[in-house]
Structures are given as structure tokens and as C-alpha cells.
């Protein structure tokens, strides 16, 4: 904790991807930097640093949030899920598979944010329309895909029976 006095420090406790984490951090540390630099969870990306692009999306207590806009201290005693902890096995989620099958990924930089946003949408609404999907994704910027296949991926995943995904 180079260059900081004791008063700048905070004893942070939180749950990240199902594991409890205790770290002494500087109070001005953003949650994004805590995840990337302290925990080496680099799936969340910094793209704009201003909450406009959604590349740093993570899930905090069940809500998608831009981790660049949140101080790590605000995550105290909270439950964080990142793209790395979306599933505790090596299997992909249905939506991750759907992203792959639909060729929704080009450069991939926005994809962790897109996947998490899509997962939360499908949790709330199993059968979103294309317009509802586009509305939900409006906080996640992609410059490669034109969003078309990302919307496809979410739309085609909006079924509960996994076997249907292959055939749609």
C-alpha cells in the first residue's frame, strides 16, 4: 500500500464468485480496478470509464452494474459475480453457447458485459422480444458486430429446453 496513509485504507470484505474475500484497500479504489488488479479477474474491461459502454459490467447482489462507477468500498459485504464466476463448472452457460453458435463474438472485448446483461435479462424475462433485447443492451456498446447476432444469441436462448437451442 505504497504512498497511502492509514486513513486512506479500508478493510473490505465481500463475496466474489462464491468465495469470501478480505482485503485492505485504498478507499478511492474503483470496484473495476479492485477486480482486475487485486483479484486478477480481468473479464470486466475498462473502455470509457464513465458508465457509457457497459464493458465493465458485473453483477452485484443480483443487479448488473458498471463496475467503473462503483467504489470498491461500496461493495463491502456484497455479493459480486463476474464473467469468470458465472458458472462454477467448466461448462458454458446456455447463453454463452448461444453467443458462440450465433457468431455473436467478433473482437470479444464487450462480450463479458453483453453476456452478463443478457443473463440477467433472461432471468427476468424468459421470452424477450427483439426490441426488449435491444433496449436492455442499449447500455452495452459494441463497435464490431452491429449487435445483430448478439440479439440473435439472446433471442435464440430464450427457451428453457436446452435441446431446442441447437435446432433454432
Amino acid at each position: 500500500m505504497l504512498f497511502h496513509s492509514r486513513s486512506d485504507l479500508f478493510q473490505l470484505s465481500l463475496t466474489v464468485n462464491g468465495k469470501s474475500v478480505d482485503r485492505e484497500i485504498v478507499t478511492h479504489l474503483r470496484l473495476l480496478d479492485f477486480l482486475r488488479d487485486e483479484l486478477l479477474l480481468t473479464g470486466a474491461k475498462e473502455v470509457c470509464g464513465a458508465g457509457e459502454c457497459g464493458a465493465c459490467t458485473i453483477i452485484m447482489d443480483g443487479q448488473t452494474v458498471n463496475s467503473c462507477l462503483i467504489l470498491a468500498v461500496e461493495a463491502h459485504n456484497r455479493n459480486i459475480v463476474t464473467i469468470e464466476g458465472l458458472r462454477d463448472t467448466t461448462e458454458l452457460t446456455d447463453l454463452q453457447q448461444s453467443f458462440e453458435h450465433q457468431h455473436a463474438v467478433q473482437c470479444g472485448y464487450c462480450i463479458p458485459g453483453m453476456v452478463l446483461t443478457g443473463e440477467k435479462l433472461l432471468e427476468r424475462n424468459s421470452y424477450p422480444t427483439r426490441d426488449e433485447i435491444k433496449y436492455e443492451l442499449s447500455g452495452n456498446i459494441c463497435r464490431c458486430t452491429g449487435y445483430h447476432k448478439i440479439v440473435d444469441a439472446i433471442e435464440k436462448c430464450s427457451v428453457t429446453d436446452e435441446t431446442q437451442i441447437e435446432h433454432r
Binding site: 458454458l92 473482437c107 463497435r143
Partner: protein, 759 residues
Amino acid sequence: MKVIGKDIQRVDGQSLVRGKPVFADDIKLKDVLHVKILHSPVAHAKILSMDTSKAEALDGVVAVFTHHNFKPHYYTTAGQGYPEPGPRDIRILDSTVRFVGDRVAFVAAETIAIAEKALDLIIVEYEELPCIFDAQKSMTAGFALHPKAGTSGIHDIDKNIAAHLEAELGDVEAALADSAHVFEGTYSTPFVQMAHIEPHISLTWLDNNNRLVIRTSTQVPHHVRRIVAEVLDIPVSRIRVIKPRIGGGFGGKQEILNEELVGAVTLKTGRPARIEYTREEELFAARVRHPERVTFRLGFDTNQLLTAIDLNILEDCGAYGPHALTVMSVTSQKALSMYKAPNIRVNGDGVYTNLPIGGAYRGYGAPQAFFPLESLMDEAAEQLGVDPIELRLKNVFQVGDDIPIAKILGEGREGFPLVLYSTEIAACLNEGRELSNWDTLRAAKQTGRFRTGIGVAVAGQGSGIPGVDMGAAFIKMNEDASFNLQVGATDLGTGSDTALAQIAAEVLNVPVEKIIVYSSDTDMTPFDTGAYASSTTYISGSAVKKAAEACKAMILEQGKKLLQVETAEIVDTDVVGSNGQSISFSDICIKSFYTEEQAQIMGTASHLSYDSPPPFNATYAEVEVDTLTGTTRVVRIVSITDAGQIINPKMAEGQVEGGIPQALGMALTEFMPFDDKGRMLNLDFNSYHIYTARDMPELVVRFVDSHEPTGPYGAKAVAEIPINAPAPAVTNAIYNAVGVRIKHLPVQPEQILAEMDLK
């Protein structure tokens, strides 16, 4: 074909949907120094003095660099072939700053916060100099923005002309004088941001042999190595450039933008260094699309056939001219490669101003060509009383035609002859006509507040730079009949690793999973000029095909030796001898490694082409103009492309679907306003508006059957072609809806409100 033309899953898809640490900044270096740049707050000034003592005294600051730390050496930041076609007019740090965002100094510190604080502590005394924000006025300003001493390749320093080009075939003035109809129009295209969402990020460190390792988000690893070696005055052999996964580039990463800075820090301190541009820095201090003002004159005979095309270009290249010549060359090459006219002429000037630096951006001058050309063709069709589609069909180049501009205007020198071996532009236009409901929408009577219109535009691009772009590939075989494919080609998110794997798999009769792609690393992979100019599938793909064929030939030879036969053939993944015996690929490799006729089975190849077959596209845009507010909403885009044989249809569709919103952004939503001091005003994604999911129109994307005889398996390029036609298709649709001819992008609702003609 087994894998070509199939929707093969991307070789890198799994890692990306899992958010694996594959990008430049996803590794953490021990004891890394964070590097920050002090950007000029003024558009043009001489630095009288700099006091860095307070910054250097700040706890945690390790090094501060100013122009005093470097010998005056001029180079170009353009990642292009060598010798570079453009001017050498930039220094790593200079005593004169030439735009708001120019580099003044840089700092290396223990944390980003300390580095930022140190920037505030550097005291700079500027003597402000007169500024030029208008390319036309720059030529007669009477003072030069660049010095004569040290620079090279600048066309006319006194007139601030970075680059000039002119070429003529036939006699344009005479032909226009004799033409039955002449149409003339002047159009302009704006500054546009590439807006790749991964910023420019570079990390450097010294390896165990004291070599400089550069891990950078680049499209041009081999050019990075060459240019950093030159700028830092160390041998190429001391540099290794690693291209990890890239988060988009679109040309923005065809630039050596900060690799030399972190390299300097690591060489001086011996410590790892890291730089990451903020979004704000990306917007005001990186690279942009060159604004161009283009005047076309088109002559037609009484049969509505073009007699002459006269093209005049004024390009604003900004403060430095890394791509000044070549972007303007592409504007003229592409504008003159679409329609057949016996007389053609181009005259262009790329001019310095005190504005951001023009770089490489998808389309590379071609969008600046097709917006004016296709707008004027639309106007000509109306005046001539002919259907705009018919007028285009009558005049486009046909198979077998010679495209003369290719020969007279190359990449900074004379070019190479180009014969058109494949074009399906007629099929593109005809299919689009059906899918867009052109005839119905064109005939529809419009009333009420919201007026619908439909417009069309066509465009071409190239497939690599003829006689310049070279790609190489190396393939080696493993015991289980898998293959390592090592290419210098650079997948920047396009999917080229997958496409190249498909080409290798097709040759070697194996599934794509058996091809392990590694791209690219200057220590490990062969040379490739890099991912630009739509070259990877066509050029690098051909290299991969040849390397795979060489590898396959060696498999056959080893098989024959092992079977002890004179003749044999490959059937699937077996070598079958004339005696009826056979041996599997896998057994051939195992024996070749360990027991008999020992050798590594491998193949290498390079590829260079003197052809650059144009892919073609026809785009139909349906728009809705709100006559109360003057705003335009794009309802539907139908984009039909001839890209030769498609290697992977879903990936190719993705290229087109992604190019369209970039083009629509240039047409409608992306805008870089500056204040009277040359400061860009909208420095975030909230105010620099790129398309979001909700802005997207309905997309209909199709490819027509096509085969390019010079391409790998018949393929042409697909990366840049979709970005050229949407803007003029939209503005032509606006004209169709409300009768307003848009000549300057982006479209201003105020202009529509002022000029609309509601019949």
C-alpha cells in the same frame, strides 16, 4: 468443399465468451511503471521552456521525458510497408506542438494516479503560434506548419501540402466539352472516430536476454518492431512484438501510437512499463478518418454512358501526414474503379492543419469517394430521367475489363495493371432491388409528418495492396495429425484466425479443430505486413493455402517412403500406395518423428499478389424523415455483397453487419465539433454518439455467388467493403423522402428543415 463456405465455430470463441485473460492488459507485470502523456492544450505553439523538477521530485515518479531526452529524428507513425509512402514529419517528442492532443512530455510512475499528478506539475511555457483549421486556407496561409530540416517526403512544405497526386488518362476537358450531359458536385465528409472499444494499450519489459518485449494491441506487429527499432535506435534483433487478442482496430491500430514511449521507459529504467489510453485520449489524441472535400464532374453521352470522370480532392490530414498520401490515393483509386469511363483524371492535395491526425480507418479513403460519387450518380439519374439502378448497371465495369487507374496510380508509386476477373455487382443490385421493395417504396406517395424514402448506392474496395502486401505462413505437423499454423497475419477481432484455419483444414483434409493457430509474434511467426487494406483472407489466406499444400506434399513423400512405393495418393487422411497398402497421417507423423525416415513434416510459403480484386456491394437504405424535427431514422438496410467465395458465411455476415453502423454513424450521428482554439468538444461516448443496439435498423445481409480466380478457394476481401455504400444510400433515400440533397456529412436536421420540399 468440406470446411470452406461453412459456418465453422470461431477458434477463439470459447475463450472470449468466458472472458479469459487474452487481451494485452489482462496480464499483470510485477513492478510495472504506469506511463502517462502530457498532451498539448493548444493547437499550435513553440515550447519555450519546460520545468519538470517538481514532477520529478514527486514521490513515486521514476522518469520524466521531454524532447530534450531524444535526438531530433523524424519518422512516420503509419504502420505501412518500407520505405513508407507518406511523409516523415513526426518526432517522438518535439519542441513545437501542432494540435490539441500533441505529445509534450511523458511520465513513468509507480501508479496511474501519481503519473497523472506529475503531469500537472510539469510547467510548460508555450509561445502560441497562429493556427490553421481549414485545409483550403492552409495552402495559402503564408507560413509552414512543418520545418524543412530533418523532415522528408513532404510534398510542399511552404504550402503545407503533405502529399499531392495527379493522374490523367485520355483528355478529360475535351471529353467533358463534348459530353451531352455534365454533372458537377462538391461534397464533404467529416472527421470520424474508429472507436475500437479496446483502447490503445502497450506493455513492455526486458526479457532474460535483455531484449525489449512489446505486448501491444496492434494490427501491424512487424511494422511496430521496425519503427520502434528505428525510433529508439536499437537493433530489430533486440525487439520482440507480441500481438495478443485485439479488441478491435478498424485501422486505428495500424499506427505506432505509444509503443515507442513505453519502450523508451523500459530501456531507460529496466522496469516493465504500461500505457493505456483513456477514452478521452482516444477521442482527441489518437487518430481519425481524414475529412475530404471532393468535387466530381461526370460527363455522359446521349446513351447515358460515362464519357469522363474528373475528380478533385482536398484532404485535411491534420497536424501530421502518416496516411496523407495513401488515403487520398485510395479515394481516387476506388472512385475510378467502379464505372467505366474512357477519360479519367484526378488531382488531390493532402494538407496539414492544426487538427487531429488522420489515420487509417476501415474503407481508408473509399467512403470519402463513394459518398460524393454515388450522390452525384443519383442526381444524374434523376436529371437524365433514368432509374438510378439502371444508370449504374449501364456503367459499371464488367468481367474482363481493364481498370486503368490501378496501373497509373499505385501505393505512392506507379501501380500494376488490374483486370477484373470477377464482378457480380449486377446480381447485387438486382437482388437488393427485390429484397428492399425498391419499386414499391419508390412509387409510394408520401404524406404526413413522417416521410419514407429509399435510396441505393454501390461501392467497391480492394483485396490487399498489389505488389506490396506480403503474408507468410508456417505449418508443422504433430503426432495426432494436428497442425500448428503460425502466421504473421493479425486477427484484430475479424475472425481471420478461424478463416485461415479453415483454409489450412480444407487443404489438409482435417477438421478445423486439428489446426492450432498462433498469430502473431515477431519471434515466432513469419512476416506479414499486417491486418489492413482488406488483405488477410486474400493475401495471408493464399500464403496459408500454399504452406498447407507444401505440408501436404511432404506428408505424401514421407508416406511413399514409409510404404516403399514410387506412387501413392492421399485419400482423406491416409496415404494409399500403388500396391494397395495405406498408412494414416498420424502414423506417418509418428514414424517420421521417432522411427523411420525421421523429419519434421512442415510447409512454409509466402504470398504476394499483383492483383487486388475488388469486392463489390450494393446497399439499399429505407429511411423515415420526421418533417417536424428534420431528423432521419434508418428503418432498414439491405446490403448485398460480392466478396467472391465466402470462407465462413456467419463471420462474413458479421463483417457486413458491423460495417453498416459505422457507416451510419458517419452519415448521421458521429460528429467532432471543435471550438475556435481547435479543441474537440465532445470527449466521451455520451456526446460522441456511436450506434447502440437501439439505434440499429433492420438489417438484411446477403452474399451473391461469386468466384475470384486469383483468390484462395475463390475468395475476395470482405472487411472494408460494407462501410462504403450505406452513407450515400441513406442520403439518396433522404432526397427521395423530402427532396433535400445532402452534400455534407453528417446529415444536419437543420438543413433538412430549411430545404425540404413537401410535394
